[in-house]
């Protein structure tokens, strides 16, 4: 757990760099989180995925997996990997300030 400042707000990040309190998240914070992931500026298409993940998280308590994203976000899995090469579900969740999608057991 580390404490850091993102877009002027003091926040806690877990060991993997996910925001501990998703309610602290702001649009400005997303831009800074994206830079940490090597994305200089977020495109409209990337924002579409980030907003979708956030909406899903708020509705269901967990972010969608890549497979579910591919079926429901309006962006194909192939394109999701182009938008977030390091892994769409994980990277987009991190930028969206929500916990790492649970995956399944």
């Amino acid at each position: 757990m580390t404490t850091t400042t993102l877009a002027g707000i003091n926040v806690e990040l877990n060991d993997e760099g996910f925001l501990v309190d998703p309610s602290q998240w702001t649009d400005a914070m997303a831009a800074e989180l994206a830079r940490k992931e090597g994305i200089e500026s977020l495109t409209e298409r990337q924002w579409q995925v980030i907003n979708f993940m956030r909406t899903q998280y708020l509705a269901k308590g967990t972010g969608p997996s890549v497979r579910v994203l591919g079926k429901t976000s309006g962006v194909s899995i192939k394109e999701l990997y182009q938008l977030f090469p390091k892994g769409p579900a994980k990277t987009a969740a991190k930028i969206a300030g929500i916990p790492k999608p649970k995956g399944c057991i």
Partner: protein, 419 residues
């Protein structure tokens, strides 16, 4: 007279029907089970078939014979469920009206979701042991295998019995050693997860067991396509893994009719239910158990068994118009075959990850440790499955809630959110 309709005559549906028949006399409830065929498969048995142990006939019995004589059994495919009118429509035109519906139609393999999987090489050098046909074809291929690269790949979670692909690796290691050609076989375990298993402590131990056996572990690999002709797995991030023989666990979905049934299932066709009561989030008179349920618990027979007790209590509560209070804790209990006639046992629930110790109490089977006793336990289980579990009897020493006695609790119990 209550009308209870149960969709699916597998592990969950059968044990639920038989348990319900015990609590309701025939003049109190009419219980009907629907399934599209009459072949009840003991799915854990599929793991051994590729290694020449058992055949699909040995692990298949008629579904109808596993049901109490007082349960109606209909062999027809399901077209859809209409939640609004409390009706199940079957493909032969029959409609079944219900007061309570139990969804227990399990999971199906969606091979079509992975590009190339069933194209060139399918059932020749690309296999799955998750179907009777695949397990049998794989037995032949392994028998003829004289050396080369074998990959075992989980395309994506959730899958049935998430430990089975690991067990497959351990058994393959043991099998090739016995044949004296282990040094000519390269085994690689390829998973979309960030470790060998979903639960951290267990993942570390199982990862160590792969390493001990010289099995390469490749993590966070999201298979985008399988190229059977050229023998390679290709990930969405463009990584490639070459193979001479691939054992693929395809992605799973709920039964096809779920997608025709408005409101019943989620994007993958699994049924969202309350994780403790098993009541559908869409409709209070609908319940789900086993692999069909969308729960943060393993898709495993033991889970269906533990859920059965809670489900039957809650159906009674619902029909009596009482509050549901029976509570499922996410209990999972799995034997993990580790090769050379040994096995590990893991036991966990929503809150507690697999721990070391003994099961079900301080004197019992060793947990998270390879032992011959656990292997015997796994073998004995098939008999218990047909004779105790399906008929709806309580198993000796095995409770629906996870036992805490005998487990080594070192750190405070913490819920794992990130996996």
């Amino acid at each position: 007279m209550h009308r209870i309709v149960i969709l699916g005559g597998g592990t969950g549906g059968t044990l639920a029907a038989n348990r319900l028949r015990k609590v309701y006399r025939p003049d109190q409830a009419d219980i009907t089970v629907v399934d599209q065929d009459d072949r009840h498969l003991y799915q854990p048995g599929l793991l051994f078939i590729p290694f020449g142990v058992g055949s699909t006939q040995d692990i298949t019995r008629p579904r109808g014979e596993q049901l109490h004589p007082g349960v109606n059994y209909v062999t027809t495919a399901i077209e859809k469920v209409e939640l609004e009118s409390n009706t199940v429509r079957l493909v032969d035109g029959t409609n079944l009206a219900y007061d309570v519906l139990v969804v227990a139609t399990g999971a199906v393999l969606s091979t079509n979701e992975t590009e190339g999987l069933t194209d060139a090489g399918w059932m020749e050098k690309v296999f799955t042991f998750y179907t009777p046909k695949g397990a049998t074809a794989l037995a032949r291929a392994l028998g003829e295998f004289t050396g080369g690269r074998i990959v075992v790949n989980i395309v994506d979670m959730p899958i049935k019995c998430p430990v089975a692909p690991l067990e497959f690796c351990f058994l393959a290691d043991s099998y090739f050693k016995k044949r004296g050609i282990r040094d000519r076989v390269e085994l690689t375990y390829v998973t979309p997860l960030d470790g060998a298993f979903t639960k951290p402590v267990c993942s570390e131990q199982l990862g160590g067991m792969l390493a001990d056996r010289g099995i390469t572990l490749v993590t966070e690999f999201n298979t985008g396509s399988v190229d059977g002709a050229k023998g390679r797995l290709i990930a969405y991030d463009e990584r490639e893994i070459p193979f001479d023989l691939a054992v693929i666990i395809p992605v799973h979905s709920g039964a096809p009719y779920v997608f025709n049934s408005e409101g019943l299932g989620d994007e993958l066709g699994f049924i969202p239910v309350d994780e403790h009561t098993l009541q559908s989030k869409a409709s209070p008179n609908v319940f789900a158990l086993g692999d069909a349920a969308a729960l943060p618990a393993s898709k495993a027979g033991s889970v269906a068994h533990f859920e059965g007790e809670v489900l039957v209590d809650n159906i009674q509560h619902f029909l009596d118009e009482r509050n549901l209070d029976a509570s499922f804790d996410g209990h999972v209990n799995c034997f993990i075959e580790s090769g050379s006639s040994k096995a590990l046992l893991i036991d966990f629930n929503y809150e507690t990850e697999p721990l070391t110790g003994h099961f079900p109490g301080p004197v019992g089977l060793p947990l998270m440790k390879e032992s011959h006793l656990n292997h015997l336990g796994k073998l004995a289980f098939q008999w218990m499955y047909w004779h105790s579990l399906l008929p709806g009897r309580d198993l000796p020493f095995v409770t629906s809630h996870m036992p805490r006695a005998g487990k080594h609790f070192v750190a405070p119990v913490k819920k794992e959110h990130s996996r």
